[in-house]
């Protein structure tokens, strides 16, 4: 469990105060994948680095499993960091060390293990991330996706309960991104690992996160379960992220709506409702005709969802909507 209590961060640049993070309260439960999304400069990177105090907070308290991180002295902070994994956008592997030596580094720094223990642990970690054959290579000989998997193995070397991901997939191509996210997903479940990840891509949030916080100008502007935030975005910044990810355009949609008659509704199906042949059934029974104006069908983490925008003409529309609501479909009326 990571808790932020009125944590804020200001910098002094040339005598002027710049606010990187407005006073912020936040709770990240154990075992969750928690996403922070925002444009560059929104403060998400600062927020992430406050957790292991790579950035010193200007005020407030940060508690990790009940320990006040902000009050730790230098030695305590080093020990705390040894129990926290972190991966980076540009991997930050040591180019002068082999893959195995990179992974062994946190263990060697901690100085609590014999050489034999370290060898065994490194071999196990490399096997887990699928890089056993590359142990003696240097990072420059690996692809981006392989480098990030080394980064993950290194971050997990000391068996941390928390993994911080700083734009971990932003430098990777879409296919490699999917593989790395899949690995994070599995590790989260296998190890009950809390993962805090920051990204500027809504797609990353949709694929792996349980909870999301949207940041803008040093503030968390919207927060909640991913399904809720993703399917019903409220804040303009959130809406922009979702529309970007779905390649939707609000102006274009308004134009389309002007072309059609009748009521316009947006239906959101989640879980089992996504697979049921509801729409046809209900249309037949209520005599309502519908045309589909837009839609998306995909997964949020592992839960399937569908979201359709329809125009309804004729028949008993109210009865149809009541039946949909009864079947756990969320109905939003966009034009009555």
């Amino acid at each position: 469990m990571i808790e932020f209590e009125r944590v804020h961060k200001t910098y002094k640049v040339g005598g002027r105060e710049i606010t990187a993070l407005e006073p912020c309260d936040l709770q990240i439960p154990q075992g969750q994948i928690f996403g922070l999304i925002g444009h560059s400069g929104a403060g998400k990177s600062t927020l992430l680095r406050l957790i292991n105090r790579l950035e010193e907070p200007s005020g407030g308290r940060i508690l990790v499993d009940g320990i006040d991180v902000t009050a730790l002295p230098a030695k305590g902070l080093r020990q705390f960091r040894q129990k926290l994994g972190m991966i980076f956008q540009h991997f930050n592997l040591l180019s002068s060390k082999t893959v195995a030596d990179n992974v062994a580094m946190p263990l060697k720094l901690a100085g609590e293990h014999t050489a034999a223990e370290i060898r065994t642990r490194v071999a196990m970690l490399l096997a887990r991330v699928g890089l056993s054959d590359h142990a003696d290579k240097y990072p420059a000989q690996l692809s981006g996706g392989q480098k990030q998997r080394v980064g993950i193995a290194r971050a997990l070397a000391t068996s941390p309960k928390i993994l911080l991901c700083d734009e971990a997939t932003s430098a990777l191509d879409p296919q490699t991104t999917a593989q790395v996210l899949q690995l994070l997903n599995e590790l989260n479940r296998e190890l009950n690992l809390t993962i805090v990840l920051i990204t500027h891509e809504m797609d990353v949030i949709r694929r792996v996160c349980d909870q999301v916080a949207v940041m803008d100008a040093g503030q968390i502007v919207e927060q909640g379960p991913v399904a809720e935030v993703f399917l019903h975005p409220k804040h303009p910044t959130t809406r922009r992220f979702v529309f970007e990810a779905e390649q939707l355009d609000e102006n274009e949609m308004a134009n389309d709506f002007a072309q059609v008659q009748g009521r316009i509704v947006r239906l959101t199906f989640q879980g089992q409702a996504t697979y049921a042949p509801l729409l046809g059934q209900i249309a037949r029974q209520s005599g309502v005709d519908y045309s589909i104006l837009g839609g998306r069908i995909d997964h949020i983490r592992d839960v399937p969802y569908g979201q359709l925008t329809l125009s309804l003409v004729g028949g008993d529309a109210d009865a149809a909507l009541a039946q949909l609501k009864a079947a756990d479909v969320t109905v939003e009326v966009l034009r009555a």
Binding site: N52, R78, Q82, M86, L93, S96, M105, L109, A140
Partner: protein, 220 residues
Amino acid sequence: MNYFTNVDWYDIWMATLDTLLMLGGSLFFTVLLGLPLGVLLFMTGPKQMFERKGLYALLSFCVNVLRSLPFIILLIVMIPLTLLITGTSLGVAGAIPPLVAGATPFFARLVETALREVDRGIIEATQAMGASTRQIIVSALLPEARPGIIAAITVTAITLVSYTAMAGVVGAGGLGDLAIRYGYQRFQTDVMLVTVVLLLILVQILQSLGDRLVVHYSRK
């Protein structure tokens, strides 16, 4: 051997030995002192882990003073200090302290530059692992900067070779001294030629050795 009538090969051999002794001795102490100084310059420098504006300015000033002093002047100014350190201000032993004093600031600057080339992300990652400052320097910074530091040692060694030519002023001998006293002042062109060729060979060996080591340790 008609062309080399003035060349006393025993003198040449002794001079070569003197040059190598001065080079080896001064390079050893230059690296010993210059490496920590370079690390200190880097760490206290602008926007680094231990940014200390005052200390950095002071160190930087001292380095600049020593670097701006012509070596021949340093050689003479340092005589009292050299006496204190080695007990003599003459010969190879008398030359090594001024050589070290001349080369250390130069080498330290090169080390500082090599360390600045290390990706900041690597320092951050090592910090995030819970490394102490000493561990960051020893386990991350120095290994990552190793090719740059080897290149710095190479350049410094070659600079020291040319400095030793002036060490004749304190009677240290060496190939450069031979070239000046016989080749230049007595117009013995053959002596000049032999010493210059030997110095050239020495520099070539140092440079190619340095280059090979840099390549060997470069993983990028």
